[in-house]
């Protein structure tokens, strides 16, 4: 009870101007500034996570490009010259901007596709496979086991475009939608002449990333080992997940190693630069608001101490230590700052949860709990605000 009474008495003689509107205004400015700062960090962080994160947001984020060794007059006679060796792959893995590398395996065995009915055609078909993580959407039935007669395939969207816009009109054939193509069945004859196997292939998806027809890795491996000419078939193309393909160092790397690619996707780097401008502008505004807020807050603290100057001097004269009085003042004002910071944090966390749900509706994965940059911004601003207030209290009291 005694410590309580002491505090009540100290409150009565030291905090004469109570909680004025200036104090509330400064706390509101601090709250808005702090919330904006946290939100701008969150936006920046979320976007970075979408672009570079390890989650399933590949189609949005990094650019996928396929690279192959350039076929030149010098190497065109020698097929193995355009295959990637283990050393080549290592150097690509370590190149700037490259986040991951997948090997594209192509069929080393004959594949013959046939279709009956109105669309009757028969053609040799090149098949390739990439690791599943490089597919933008992995279809549900994207699997094949030896013995199974059903084979899922993914077709390049370009194939369908060529068929619909170039081939079908010229041949008087009907145009096909993606879903109707998925209903068709192709007969694939695999292997040489007599000893071949026949599969029923279904198109289960389309891809913008790869300009051929893809089959599950297990199928290509099976065919290559059973019918392949080269048992350990070389890698002719690589698929790369690239952070920023517009990086000049990356294109220099491709040139230097004689690699070709046809992808030049700069879409996301443009959006990224817009996000950076927006978050930077919000961040600057937030810091300005917080600056004004903390300035008014500190002025209020100093005004309170100036109003209590007589009492402070008398308390020191009867033996109270300046440190103890500073602690009392800090105990009065710091909880307000902590309250503001906590409220800003809760608002930002709630916004993040809402954003996570909204993004999930778009098929994007965000984290409900923000990452390190958010907490750094929170603790950084907390430390700066607390230090400024504590220092101003100490200075104001020691002036007496």
């Amino acid at each position: 009870m005694s410590k309580n009474l002491q505090h009540i008495m100290l409150k009565r003689i030291l905090l004469k101007n109570g909680r004025s509107s200036r104090l509330w205004a400064s706390m509101l400015a601090l709250l808005i500034g702090n919330t904006l700062l946290l939100l701008s960090v969150l936006i920046w962080w979320n976007f970075n996570e979408l672009l570079y994160g390890k989650d399933q947001n590949d189609s949005l984020g990094s650019t996928f490009i396929t690279v192959g060794k350039k076929v030149t007059n010098a190497n065109m006679g020698n097929q193995t010259a355009t295959l990637f060796t283990a050393n080549d792959i290592d150097s690509v893995v370590q190149a700037v901007q490259v986040q991951s590398v997948g090997m594209i395996t192509s069929n080393q065995f004959p594949v013959f596709a046939m279709m009956g009915g109105d669309l009757a055609f028969a053609t040799e078909l090149p098949l390739e496979s990439v690791p599943d993580s490089f597919l933008e959407h992995k279809p549900e039935d994207w699997q094949w086991q030896p013995g199974s007669r059903d084979l899922p395939i993914i077709m390049s969207s370009q194939f369908l475009d060529i068929y619909n816009y170039v081939f079908a009109p010229s041949q008087g054939l009907p145009q096909l939608s993606e879903s109707s193509v998925k209903l068709l069945a192709l007969n694939l004859k695999v292997g040489p002449g007599e000893g071949g196997e026949v599969y029923t292939a279904h198109v289960v998806g389309f891809s913008d990333r790869i300009s051929s027809v893809m089959a599950p890795q297990s199928f290509i491996d099976y065919g290559n080992s059973k019918y392949g000419k080269q048992k350990n078939g070389g890698v002719s193309q690589l698929i790369l997940k690239v952070k920023d393909p517009s990086d000049i160092k990356f294109s220099k790397f491709l040139q230097r190693n004689n690699l070709t690619t046809n992808s030049q996707s700069l879409r996301w780097s443009k959006i990224r630069s817009i996000v950076e401008v927006v978050t930077t502008a919000t961040g600057v505004l937030a810091v300005l608001l917080m600056g004004i807020g903390i300035l008014v807050f500190i002025l209020f603290v100093e005004l309170t101490i100036a109003n209590a100057k007589g009492s402070l001097i008398l308390l020191i004269e009867i033996g109270y230590s300046p440190r103890m009085l500073s602690r009392f003042m800090i105990g009065r004002f710091i909880p307000l700052i902590i309250g503001v910071l906590a409220t800003g944090m809760l608002i930002a966390l709630a916004a993040q949860i809402i954003a996570t749900h909204a993004a999930a509706a778009q098929g994007l994965v965000l984290h409900t709990v923000p990452g390190i940059p958010f907490w750094l911004a929170l603790f950084g601003s907390a430390i700066v605000l607390l230090l400024l207030v504590v220092r101003s209290i100490g200075n104001a009291i020691n002036k007496n």
């Binding site: 410590k3 009474l5 008495m9 003689i13 308390l315 004269e317 009867i318 033996g319 230590s321 020691n398």
Partner: protein, 214 residues
Amino acid sequence: MQLTLTQLIPQPLRDKLSMRPSGIWNCDLVFGVGEYVFVKAPSGTGKTTLMHILYGLRSDYDGAIRWGKLALREMTAESLAELRANQLSIVFQDMRLFPELTAWENLEIKRQLTNTISAKEMEGWLSRLGISDKRDSLARTLSYGEQQRVAIIRALLQPFKWLLMDEPFSHLDLENIDKARALIIEVIQKNNAGMILADLDEHTFFNYSQTINL
């Protein structure tokens, strides 16, 4: 804790004070533990200035003051607060109570700093000095005499080795002076402390070990 004064002189009064002889200004003095010192100080000789300098409230003086081993001028705000809370107490001439607190709260805010005297004992002192009925009155509504008695009690609510008193009985009648004197002596003896009392005229309220003309 000895009090040592070396060639002490307040800067603003230097010219004025150098013109006349003084038992303190510009002298080298040592006051031993438990001494009762009376400083006889006619108006204008710097009585309150001396008390404030000794208590560390002002530092516009030349010379040196040592409380025990501590050189007053070199002390930090924190060590000065420690000295005032535990070694050195004072009754100000102008009382210096918190006007917005009651008599009781004015005492309580001091008592709780060191908690050396119990609230019950403090209550006893209030009634000994005849101001029990004023304990819940705001200090600004008290008469000077009542304020002076509160100020005296407040000075005794801490451990101390020296008690400084600046005209402590100026607003009290003889009967009340006697009560206050008895209480002061009792607490000083309990603390094995000394006192320095400054007043305009000589009196015999305490058995002084020395009397000095300022």
